[in-house]
Symmetry: C2
């Protein structure tokens, strides 16, 4: 038959996409080169052009994959128990501003740099941001805050964590942990 394993293909496509995301985190969008990626995967570009129409096809797949992952993450958090909104806000701040998730934050930055120049990327980032802001807003509203305040806190929260990852806060201050806690309180309390 023509399609004995409709998963085998997807698996290999997924390998290319994963490799592209790795490079995106390391080198940015312009680091994603077909032949470079092929070398990293220990194949040649002959394989690439079987799985993908061209480089743009890969990039679109990268966008889709990233978007799905982020949306899924947000939905998972949304399904958490109600009544736990405050610790959940702290958890979000902690996850995004900590140095684990380093690769995730690098991808976030690269995506936004990408979105500056590419309409498709811009649409994806906007969708993900909207979902996150909505999630945050609902959390604050569940704690009884008025709509404007809830929306504002949500925006402040995400802008802060992304902005923090932009700043080479290598050694701004020794009490970085205390500062982060003060800020988290200021945003969430």
């Amino acid at each position: 038959m023509a399609k004995p394993e409709p998963n085998r293909q997807q698996l290999d496509r997924a390998a290319w996409i994963k490799g592209a995301l790795d490079i995106l985190a390391e080198k940015g969008l312009d680091g994603i080169r077909v032949e470079v990626l092929a070398k990293r995967l220990k194949v040649t570009k002959g394989s690439f052009y079987w799985h993908f129409k061209d480089r743009r096809d890969l990039l679109d797949a990268v966008l889709d994959t990233w978007k799905d992952g982020r949306i899924r993450d947000i939905q998972k958090q949304t399904r958490a128990l109600p009544g736990e909104e405050l610790p959940r806000a702290y958890h979000v701040i902690d996850v995004y501003s900590a140095n684990r998730n380093r690769k995730g934050m690098l991808i976030e930055i690269a995506m936004r740099d990408w979105a500056r120049r590419d309409a498709a990327a811009a649409a994806v980032v906007e969708e993900v941001d909207a979902a996150r802001l909505e999630f945050g807003r609902k959390g604050f509203e569940a704690r009884g805050m008025p709509p404007l305040e809830a929306s504002s806190r949500s925006l402040l929260l995400y802008a802060y964590v992304f902005g923090l990852s932009l700043m080479s806060c290598g050694k701004f201050d020794a009490d970085m942990d205390e500062m982060k806690r003060w800020i988290a309180d200021r945003i969430a309390r």
Copy 2:
């Protein structure tokens, strides 16, 4: 003589640097290509390689120029009258988060993307950030806040404005202006 006008050269170097900064804002670091830049300036790269040793030489000059400009800006703000710290904080938030200064913010983002991969760029960004954070901290301390709180507010302020420029807040909410004001109050008050 050998040096009748030691400014003529600098002026032309400055033109190349300015063009490079324009491209940096539009296309990011990888958009800065010698021949592309030459075409934009309506000359050929023969001119470029007279003024600069190579592409890296230009990039270093771009870094220096940007750093000097930012440091100068901060020092200018620092020399403002004392007793005006609160409105000054609002002014900083306003300048950075507004849609004027668009090009400036694009360069900020590109610089930070650059800093991820280049040690020299990372050093420059870190220096500029340190100066800004210090400036903000002093402002809050002048209003009687304890050191930890002042440092934290300063960090929150700059992380917020940079993070905001990362988010395609194209149409998150119609009341964006009110939200920005709420956030500015939360950071500065």
